[in-house]
């Protein structure tokens, strides 16, 4: 279950390249920008439910 989602930037080029999910249990998951990834799909549904993705640090 997703609690928050934050954008992740590439550490070299500093461009947006993924997301970090924090689950309600506190687990952090790095998620790639791949439409075939089930966590990426879950983020899209989470956003459709009205939630907002945080910007990268």
């Amino acid at each position: 279950m997703i609690q928050t989602v934050k954008k992740l930037n590439n550490p070299v080029r500093n461009n947006f390249e993924g997301y970090e999910i924090t689950t309600i249990e506190g687990t952090k998951i790095s998620v790639p920008l791949d439409e075939a990834n089930k966590d990426y799909q879950a983020i899209q549904e989470w956003v459709e439910d009205g939630n907002t993705i945080q910007e990268a640090d």
Binding site: M1, L8, N9, N10, P11, V12, E17, G18, E20, I21, T27, K28, I29, S30, V31, P32, L33, D34, A36, N37, K38, D39, Y40
Partner: protein
Amino acid sequence: MALSKIDVANMLTGLVPNDNTIRRPNAKPIIINGDMAIAQRGTSATGKTSSGYYTCDRIQFVANDAGTHTVIQETSTSGNAYINGFAEAYRIDCTTADASVAADSALFIKYKVEGRDAQVFKKGTSNAEKFTLAFWVKSNKTGTGQVNLRDEVNTRQCSATYTISSANTWEHKICNFAADTTGALPSTNAEGFGIEWYLAAGSNYTSGTAPTAWEAISNADSAASLNLAISGSTDNDFSLTGVQLEVGEYSSTTLPPFQFESFEDSLTRCHRYFLYTGGGSAYQHHGSGVEVSSTAAYMTTPLSCPFRASPSITANNTSGGIVIYDGNTESAVTSVGTTNYSPNTSLVNVAVNASGGGIDDGNGITVYSNANSNAGFLFDAEL
């Protein structure tokens, strides 16, 4: 090998004959880890109330407000499944009961067949094949179980029922499903169709009729014949193994033998969907790479099998459990950054972060567990 059959009629029409012994010689089993031998995520997961992949690879626990359960890779040393070669099983134990499951709640086990592996059924064509699903099952509950084939792409489903006749006894079940000439499955890395063993369900899933022919998905039909209610008591458990999916219609006398794969072959096929780099030695190696800043490094991990899709990554036990070593300093990995993976390749590149610093830009590094055999990275490319 002698040629046993020449189908002249179909040679003329271009159709492949519906004879499985001809069509799939030496093919690997459609179901991966059907003998439940591979459990990269561990052998027991307690307190499960929500869906996820726990213990046995490729097997999804699906739960929505239907009690609390422990998921186990069960090992056996006796019983009918064991003497037929199945020493492991996927088991669900109810630990907190929900004796009156809400209308929209359900509990079931699901296996998802990747689209590319589903093409052999020729679903959605005039030459569509029937399905035969066989499995071993054991439960303290006797009664009727329902198992569904579910095609989410074309929103279609088909069901079969089976009976658990004796409590706490391994029984072999064979379920036949109709062919479906409607709704082609994607020949991609997406889900082709799913197999669902319902274990408990509320009235939204039980108020219809189990469909023995393919139909438009109606949730009311999904568990219409079910009377097991595994989540109804902490006495309840349900075990599954020897899952076998065949092309065509078979009975107990004609079913081909279960195709046991070597542990190595099965593990490699599982790696397409999930890889855990830990669980080995206390100083398990996870990858090598280069430092790219004072707080981050790129780690490259070799793969035994290309991932189905670019994986999600979790670092298990980051608080000192995994370190970046550059030849001078060990820096604890504190989080995982972005991932670079190209389809069908055998390397994955991951940014690993050490927020406390201590690393230098440009040095070569290796990443390993720090006296912790449970530490590692979980690469998840499951459906």
